[in-house]
């Protein structure tokens, strides 16, 4: 599983991407976020306002109840501000 972070989430976590093994207990984006938050303060700060964070699985926007598997590319980021 590859996880990517962008903008201020990247800064708070201190990494732009990580390769991890998905724990057996985690099946959804929501579950993944809970698991990440438990890993440390940087994650807790990055996901503090979970309702504003957007998630993409394999480069498609998803809701947080979306399934995740170990082969997925999962990205977390704030609302986009390009253009």
């Amino acid at each position: 599983m590859k996880i990517l972070y962008f903008a201020w989430m990247r800064q708070r976590i201190g990494a732009s991407n990580e390769d991890m093994d998905l724990p057996d207990s985690v099946n959804t984006v929501d579950g993944l976020v809970d698991w990440l938050i438990a890993r440390g303060d940087g994650y807790a700060q990055a996901f503090a306002k979970r309702e504003v964070i957007r998630a993409a699985v394999n480069q498609e926007y998803v809701q947080f109840d979306h399934a995740v598997t170990n082969g997925d590319e999962i990205a977390f980021f704030p609302p986009v501000t390009g253009g």
Partner: protein, 158 residues
């Protein structure tokens, strides 16, 4: 056609080539987004020194291609073009360019606005403004969500 690039682009050259030779075209609408020198932060304006655009390589191209395809589904376009830069830019620099060519001007105008509105809310770019009082990530604006919604944009996933 879509392009995501760090280098600057030449609007005149892009406009001259993106729909060249197609004499069924009656109008070309285009929009260029530029880095402004002032950022409204916490209600007061601050001077921008640089703006850095971060993006999600891979997903950016995918989303821009989807947005362009949607525009071509909704309007009879002879040609369309989206160019979006990333990296560190200065006030006055070009950020984004969109252009739509059609037999009729209203289709060209509407599609051009649609492309801008949807890419503002869907394309994974983030702006970091370096101002005279420090750096700050640009926050998403309600007005952009409203602009996208007028084209029937579904709620953003979260």
């Amino acid at each position: 056609m879509i392009r995501v690039q760090e280098e600057d682009f030449d609007i005149g050259a892009e406009l001259a080539t993106f729909c060249a030779g197609d004499t069924s075209i009656g109008g070309v609408a285009s929009f260029t987004g530029l880095v402004r020198d002032m950022a409204p932060i916490d209600g007061s304006a601050r001077t921008i020194k640089t703006m850095t655009l971060e993006h999600y390589p891979g997903m950016t191209e995918k989303k821009l291609a989807e947005i362009e395809a949607e525009a071509n589904k909704r309007w009879p376009l002879a040609a369309s073009l989206i160019i979006h830069r990333y990296g560190t830019l200065a006030p006055g620099d070009q950020i984004v360019f969109v252009a739509c060519a059609s037999a009729h001007r209203q289709a060209a105008f509407d599609a051009c606005q649609f492309l801008m509105d949807w890419l503002k809310t869907d394309a994974p770019f983030w702006k970091l403004e370096d101002t005279d009082t420090g750096g700050a990530w640009v926050e998403a604006r309600d007005s952009d969500d409203k602009a996208a919604a007028r084209w029937g944009k579904p709620e953003t996933a979260s």
